[in-house]
Amino acid sequence: MTQAPPVYETYARRFRELEAGRSEPDWLRELRREALGRFLDLGFPTARRGNEPWKYTDVGPVARTVFGPPPARPPLPLERLRRTLPWRPTWRRAVFVGGRYRPELSHLPAAGEEVTVLPLSRVLSQGDDLLERHLARYATYQDDAFAALNTAFFSDGALVVVPDGAEPERPLHLVFVSPESEGPYVHYPRVLVVLGRQSRLCLVESYLGLGDGPYLTSAVREFYLGEGAALEHYHLLLEGEAAYHVGQARFYQERDTSLRSVFFGRGCAIGRNDVRVDLDGPGSEAYLHGLYVTTGRQHLDNYINIDHIKPHCTSRLFYRGVLDGESHAIFGGTVYVRPGAQKTDAEQEDKNLLLSREAEVDSKPALEIYADDVKCGHGAAAGAVAEEALFYMLSRGIGPVLAQTLLIKGFASSVLDEVRLPALRTQLDRLLVDSLPRLRTEE
């Protein structure tokens, strides 16, 4: 492996500095030390032969770069934030810039709103029962260098707790901004969401990059769904052109829970959207929809795994990609059905639209099935905009760019139609067009 030892030395040194400055409970100190140890042992993954999860993504540039800390007081173009993100006055909001909580931009739920949002930076030092019970339980770092890295280094993020039976009315928006900076930096957003029994939550997560320079966002989010809980989840990935983003989401579902998640992702220098769902209680369902748009020389790797551990669960995994320029998009996903997980009903599909000759898509939708009384299916497809459809519109006087826009929007709508927040839907329609330069020429 091509370990540039000085880089790892930097991480180890930085860890010692941070540790000296932190006053954290013993269990957390121990956890972080162990995580750092795992990270140094594992090293960054390489796209070598036989390393299936990283077959199509080379994180060499991430491994070679020495990242500094994020800028302390970066300028913040508020207008751009409001314009790019679904920034609704009624929503509750927690904003983090360069990995630090910014109270002046945030609007946390008040007491009595049935949901508690705490910046992790305020919780870590005193410790918290829930944190101790759930942190790093679902995002295991033993075999995952990036999860280990985040666990060792994160210093801020959000702890979201919905008590048993609570149904907060307003959506909660977690915003992680990567500001402009002189040199490359790294920040480690961390989120832990704990949904009590029979509770509900609507959560939006946004990752927005402002600068053109390189930086690394290493984000780990853990979601615990207690018995009968329902989570409506939206995930927006809008990092900067030169950004490296490795985002990991881990959903752990107890019995009779429901997860509905919609992902919208734009590519960046190296982007990785890594999702794992553990269906560990019977009668649960997980619906995952995703739309990825890559242009220029962007790279986005979707790595989605659904694990049917218990019987009588349903999962749907529908992803779609639109690729332009010389971009490279990947869909790798596996649906596992464990022994004994009878009556599993799983479907998985990945479809791709290629708009240019230089774009490349690699799709690997896999099934691993160890139970017999199941209904599982998957499909994948790739191709250009259908010529017949294009011709039909042209013959009716619709210009080529508009015709293509309509077809792309139509292709994307099967994912975007899953968005239940009208304000977000409008925003995503705009973001889709914004993300494809060839469509902007018309407007």
């Binding site: 004994g340 799709s363 690997k364 139970a371 017999d372 994948a380 497809a381």
Partner: protein, 488 residues
């Protein structure tokens, strides 16, 4: 259906009605010492009276294989204890009466002739009416090749590859290793170093081969591995249909079979390659059985050429095989039809690769996997569209059927698309035999076993239809035997 013949395994002494091909052919054999080193390779080469360039090639392959560190690849979804490559016999040849390969069919040891008759492979031409030309390979050597004369009149070369190396070195040198170089993978390297026999076919321009050509592979010696090498070249505008069948005796120990098959189709040529793989699958507890690690690949070199693979895989303890097509010529066509059945403790990791390079190239993949008992069945396939493959088209369908709650079925497709004008579709389903279908059939007086057989047969129909007549009968019987004991 006639009842399966009772066969008592010579070695284990147990009745093995499930595998009726499990007898040992009692012929004297010339067996090389166990183990692999340069001396063994020199010995094989000498026994075959090979020219110097062939030995050189083998040695290069061996040195490359050695550089891989004796560690077999681990990426497939198969599990087996490490193979001791020094505990295998790399060369075993049945001795005929005068110690040489029999000159004519009449010289063949009658014991051998009887044995092949028992396997359903007649070596006597006059007994056949329409006829299939057969090359019979026992362990490391070809023992008989039928209908050579008739084929010769048309300019078709159909002979053991060892003979081709001597008689047609220009063709062998040009094409051997051109589709599967020895650096391709671990087992291809091993095969290139030690391959002993196999079949060579050359069909001259414009000739349509009048009969199916067939090679029948048989492992006989207890400690022997089989490493055959097949090379088929279809020259411009020609057509050939090639059949391959294989069995092995019942042995308690695992046996290794690592073959390499290369197909070359020039402009407008078509090769149809059908396999009925029925190596000894091991007993009910997973003891014994053949490890079948095979590299098969064809290249559509010329325009409008076509290569079609059809395989029915019911045997072997482990199958690891991906018959592939490189679609280089414009408008060329690749096809892959497969049925893989695993029962008891069998494991199969099989599929195909379709690499589209030429314009308007088309490929079809239909894979049916059936898992029963503790069987593990994986479909692993790659469809790769290169930037040059304008208008390429692929359709993939792979379905898995699960019988019983201890088995497993996996589907691992890879789609790599680098051309927007290509259209790729992949579909897969996994399910068990539906209770409704079973109920419907049983309510009409059909036994559960028969009903299950009918459903499985229907499930595989799309693939069986692609099989040549010679195999169609055999395969239905084979399916029945392989499914035995899965009900209840």
């Amino acid at each position: 259906m006639p009842p399966a013949r009772k066969v008592i395994s010579r070695e284990t002494g147990i009745e093995e009605k499930e595998y009726k091909w499990g007898f040992v052919i009692p012929v004297a054999a010339d067996v090389a010492p166990k183990g692999l080193n340069e001396d063994i390779i020199r010995l094989i080469s000498r026994k075959k009276e090979e020219p110097e360039w062939m030995l050189e090639w083998r040695l290069r392959a061996y040195r490359y294989w050695r550089s891989l560190g004796y560690v077999e690849p681990k990426w497939a979804k198969i599990h087996h204890p490490p193979i001791d490559f020094q505990d295998i016999v790399y060369y075993a040849a049945p001795l005929s009466r005068d110690g040489d390969r029999p000159k004519t069919l009449d010289d063949i040891d009658p014991e051998l002739k009887r044995a092949f008759d028992k396997l359903g492979i007649p070596l006597e031409e006059q007994k056949r009416l329409a006829g299939v030309a057969v090359d019979a390979v026992l362990d490391s050597v070809s023992v008989a090749t039928t209908f050579q004369k008739r084929l010769e009149e048309l300019g078709i070369i159909f002979c053991p590859i060892s003979e081709a190396i001597q008689k047609h070195p220009e063709l062998v040198r040009k094409y051997l290793g051109s589709v599967v170089p020895y650096t391709d993978n671990f087992y291809a390297a091993l095969n290139s170093a030690v391959f002993s026999d196999g079949t060579f076919v050359y069909v001259p321009p414009g000739v349509r081969c009048p009969m199916d050509l067939m090679t029948y592979f048989r492992i006989n010696e207890a400690e022997a591995g089989q490493f055959e090498r097949t090379l088929i070249i279809a020259d411009r505008g020609s057509y050939v249909s090639y059949l391959e069948g294989c069995t092995a005796p019942i042995r308690k120990k695992h046996q290794l079979h690592a073959a390499v098959v290369e197909l070359i189709a020039l402009e407008d040529a078509e090769i149809k390659y059908s396999t009925l793989q029925n190596w000894y699958p091991g007993d009910k507890e997973g003891r014994g059985g053949v490890y079948n690690f095979v590299t098969k690949r064809g290249i559509c070199l010329g325009k409008n050429s076509k290569i079609s693979w059809t395989q029915v895989e019911t045997g072997s303890a482990i199958t690891w095989k991906y018959p592939s097509v490189i679609l280089r010529g414009d408008n060329s066509v690749g096809e892959f039809y497969s049925v893989a059945l695993v029962n008891n403790y069998q494991q199969a990791d099989t599929g195909t690769k379709m690499v589209h390079m030429g314009k308007n190239t088309r490929s079809t993949i239909v894979a049916k996997g059936i898992s029963a008992g503790h069987g593990q069945n994986t479909y692993r396939g790659l469809v790769k569209i290169m930037p040059t493959a304008d208008g390429a088209r692929n359709f993939t369908r792979c379905d898995s059927l699960l019988i019983g709650s201890k088995c497993a079925a996996h589907t691992v497709p890879y789609l790599e698309v680098r051309n927007p004008t290509a259209r790729i579709e992949h579909e897969a389903t996994t399910s068990k035999i539906s209770d409704e279908q079973l109920f419907y059939l049983m309510s009409r007086g059909i036994s559960e076993e028969e009903a299950q057989y009918m459903i499985v047969h229907g499930f595989c129909r799309g693939v069986f239809q692609e099989l040549p007549f010679e195999f169609a009968m055999e395969v239905t019987q084979l399916l029945r035997v392989s499914l035995e004991g899965t009900v209840g």
